[in-house]
Symmetry: C2
C-alpha cells in the first residue's frame, strides 16, 4: 500500500535533516539560524495543511486548525524541532510531521472537528544550547523559569539575547502560556528510542507513562597506594567498592520489573596503572514509570552503596543531581489511542517511556498521551536513527483515527 | 642511643631533599641541573668517607673504597639519586647515604676489608625524564639499549644530548659496564614503600625477591544505548563486565598468597550519565615474587576476563604492555643480611619487594640482595615519605655488620 502522506512526511524529514548548523552533521539548536530555516519550511507545510501559523516569544511554531464550532476546545499535537549534536532526523521532527500530516488529511477532506487542533513545533527539548531542557513546552505550560534567560551558550550569548535575535521578546514569554481556552489534551508521536517495539515486531506502541528519573553522583573514597607494595589484605580500593556497586545496581534493577538503572560515568583517581585507586566518582541514573517503585528502588540502591562502603572500610558521598517525578499518561487519551490502534487491526502494545519528553512539562497544563514509533535497533541521538515509511504511515493513520474517536467521545 | 652517623645521614637526606628542579617540590631528573648539584654534594661525602670518586658516562656517581689486598673482589652498594615528580626525600637517596655511612665507619676505624666496596649513586631509576627506567644500573650491567639515546624529554632534548651536557660521552656508555673484576654482589638499602614492616613493628626487612610484574590493557566492548529506553534484559553493558572483572581480580589475588593485582585505570566510553557504557578500557598490574605463581595467576585472571565477556555477550581485547620476570635475591647474601639483623638482637623479617629496583638489571651482572627500611604509612612517591633516624641507625648498623660477616665468609 502506498501512502502519499507518509511519503511526503518522510521527504520533509529528509529536508529538515539537511537543515543544520554544521556542514557534515545534523545539529539544530534552540533559536539558531538553522532553526530559522526549519521554521520557514515547517510554517509553509502547516499553511498547506490549512493551519494559521504564528511564532510565540520563546520560539515555538504554532499551527492552528480551527474547529467546526465557535467553541474553544483545543487538542495540542506536538513535538520538538531542536536536536542534539550529530543527531538523527526523527527524534522530534517526526512527531511534528505526523501531526501536520493528520491535519492535512482533514484539510484535504475539507473536514473540521468539534475542537481546534494546534500543532506545536517546540523550540527546545534537548537543551543543547543552554543546558536547559523543555524551554518550549515549559513556556507553553506557564512554567518557564525567567532565571534561565541569563544562561549563556558556548559563545557567551545569553538566552535573552538569543530569543530577541530569533524574533521573540524575552520579557513577554509569560504570554506564551496557554490562553486558548479548554484543552482536551496534549498528544505526541515520537520514535521509541529503545528496542522494545522492534523486538515485539510491531510498528507502534501506546505510552503508559513517562518514567520518573533520579540522577546521583556517588563518590567512593578509599586509600591510594603502591600497586606492588601494599598487600591485598588491608587495601581500601575505591574502584573495587565502585565495581561492587555497579554490579549491585545491575542486579537490583534486573530483579525489579521495569526498573532501568545505569552507571554511565566512572572516573578513577589518581588513575595510574601502578597506583591503587584512592577515589572513584560515578553516576547513577535510575528510572521507573511508577513513582512509588522508583522512589523505593532509589532508596534501596543508595542503601546498598552505603553498605558496600561500610563493609570495605571506605567512605561514600551521595549527591542528588536531579529528581523528576514520573508522569502517567491520561487513561482517557491512552484508551482512545489504543482503540485507534485496534481499529487498524493491530493489538495495542503498551509500554512506558524511559526517556523524557515535552509531555513532562505539558502535564502541568493538560492531560498527556504519547504514541511511540518503532525505530531501527532502538538507536537515537545518532545519525543512524531510522524509521520506515510503512511505520510512519501506520502512525499517521492511527493519529487520524484517534482524532475521529476523540471527536465522537 | 644517639648515632651520629644516622643523624648525619638524615641531615644529608634533608640537604638532597632541597636540591630540586622545581621551587616548591622535589623533582630531580636524570642528567638535570639539580642532579649536578646533588652530585657535587654526594661526591664530597664519598671523599670524606675515604672513597675515590668518578662519574661514568651515563651519569652514575661511583665512590670506590679499596680493599686491604691487591685483590680485585668488589661489593657494590647502591641506589639512585633521581626522583619522581613531587617526590619524597628517601626513595633512592637513603640507600646511597646508608652505603656512604657504612664505608665512613670503616674509614674512621682506618679499616680495610678483603674486598673493595663501590658505592654507586645511579643516574636514573624512576625514568621520569625519558620514560625509560634503570638507565644507570643498565649501563653498569652492560644491558643499556643504545636505541634509548634517541628518546626525547618534554623539551625535545634527546637522551644523547642530555648525557653530553651532563659531562658524559654517549658513544662510550658501553665502557660503563662493569670491568672491575670479580663481584661479590650488589646490595641495596631502600625504603619499603609499603606498610608491611610498620604493621609488623620492625625497623628492617630482608628482601627475598623482587616481584615480577605483568601489565595489561584490557578492553571490553559492549553496546552503547539510551539509559532510559533500553531494558535491563538485553543490555550489553561494558562497564558491568569491567566491574565483574575488577572484583574477580581482587578475589583471585586475595585467595592466592603473595599475589598483588591492581586495576588502577578505568575509562568509560562514551561516558555520559544517560548512556549505557559501550566500551571500557582498564589496566591490570599483577605481581608476585615467584615466577611460576605469577605466570599462572596472570593466565588464570586473563581467562576470567574472557569468561566474563563470553557470558555477558560482550567482546574483550587483551594487550600485554610489559612483562618483567621476578628476580630472586641471592640466598647467600640474604642469609648474611639475616645474620646481620640477628646479630643486632632482632628477628629478621623476610619479605618480597613488590616494586622494581636497580637490583633488577644488576641481577644480570651479579648476585643481588636488598634491605628494606620501614617507612611511615607505607607512603612513597610523595612528599609525605618518612623514615625515622632510629631506623636509619639500625640500617647502618646492619649494613656494617653485613660487611664484617662478608669479610669473614
Amino acid at each position: 500500500m502506498q501512502d502519499s502522506s507518509a511519503e511526503a512526511a518522510m521527504k520533509r524529514l529528509d529536508i529538515l535533516g539537511a537543515i543544520s548548523e554544521e556542514p557534515d552533521r545534523l545539529t539544530r539548536q534552540f533559536a539558531g539560524e538553522a532553526m530559522q530555516r526549519a521554521h520557514d519550511e515547517v510554517a509553509e507545510w502547516m499553511r498547506q495543511a490549512g493551519m494559521v501559523v504564528r511564532h510565540d516569544h520563546i520560539g515555538n511554531l504554532r499551527g492552528r486548525y480551527e474547529s467546526d464550532t465557535a467553541g474553544t476546545h483545543t487538542l495540542i499535537i506536538g513535538s520538538h524541532l531542536d536536536t542534539v549534536r550529530d543527531a538523527g532526523r526523527y527524534d522530534g521532527p517526526l512527531g511534528v510531521m505526523v501531526g501536520i500530516a493528520a491535519v492535512h488529511r482533514l484539510h484535504d477532506l475539507e473536514k473540521r472537528l468539534p475542537f481546534a487542533i494546534e500543532v506545536v513545533a517546540f523550540a527546545d527539548e534537548e537543551g543543547l544550547r543552554f543546558s536547559s531542557t523543555y524551554l518550549g513546552s515549559r513556556a507553553m505550560a506557564g512554567t518557564f523559569d525567567r532565571a534561565d534567560l541569563d544562561r549563556t551558550d558556548a559563545e557567551g550569548t545569553t538566552m535573552a539575547e538569543a530569543i530577541a535575535t530569533f524574533g521573540g521578546d524575552p520579557s513577554r514569554i509569560g504570554e506564551d502560556a496557554w490562553q486558548g481556552g479548554t484543552l482536551l489534551g496534549y498528544v505526541e508521536v515520537h520514535i521509541e528510542q529503545g528496542p522494545v517495539l522492534e523486538r515485539l515486531g510491531v510498528p507502534l506502541g501506546v505510552v503508559t507513562a513517562i518514567a520518573g528519573q533520579a540522577r546521583y553522583e556517588i563518590t567512593y573514597t578509599g586509600e591510594a597506594g603502591h600497586a606492588g607494595t601494599v598487600p591485598m589484605r588491608g587495601r581500601r580500593d575505591a574502584l573495587a567498592a565502585a565495581a561492587e556497586f555497579v554490579l549491585a545496581v545491575e542486579r537490583d534493577a534486573e530483579s525489579h520489573d521495569g526498573v532501568v538503572a545505569t552507571v554511565g560515568q566512572l572516573s578513577v583517581y589518581p588513575g595510574a596503572s601502578n597506583v591503587i585507586p584512592g577515589e572513584v566518582a560515578l553516576s547513577l541514573d535510575l528510572r521507573h514509570p511508577n513513582e512509588a517503585i522508583r522512589v523505593e528502588s532509589t532508596r534501596r540502591i543508595l542503601e546498598r552503596a552505603r553498605e558496600i562502603a561500610a563493609r570495605r572500610g571506605v567512605t561514600t558521598r551521595t549527591e542528588q543531581l536531579s529528581d523528576h517525578s514520573s508522569v502517567p499518561c491520561s487513561p482517557r487519551l491512552l484508551a482512545l489511542l489504543a482503540k485507534a490502534v485496534e481499529a487498524g487491526g493491530m493489538t495495542p502494545e503498551l509500554l512506558p517511556s524511559g526517556a523524557g519528553h515535552d509531555g513532562v512539562p505539558m502535564s502541568a497544563l493538560t492531560d498527556v498521551a504519547m504514541l511511540f514509533v518503532r525505530c531501527k535497533g532502538g538507536i537515537s541521538h545518532n545519525p543512524a536513527e531510522s524509521v520506515t515509511t510503512e511505520d510512519v504511515s501506520v502512525s499517521i493513520n492511527v493519529l487520524s483515527r484517534f482524532l475521529e474517536l476523540l471527536a465522537k467521545a
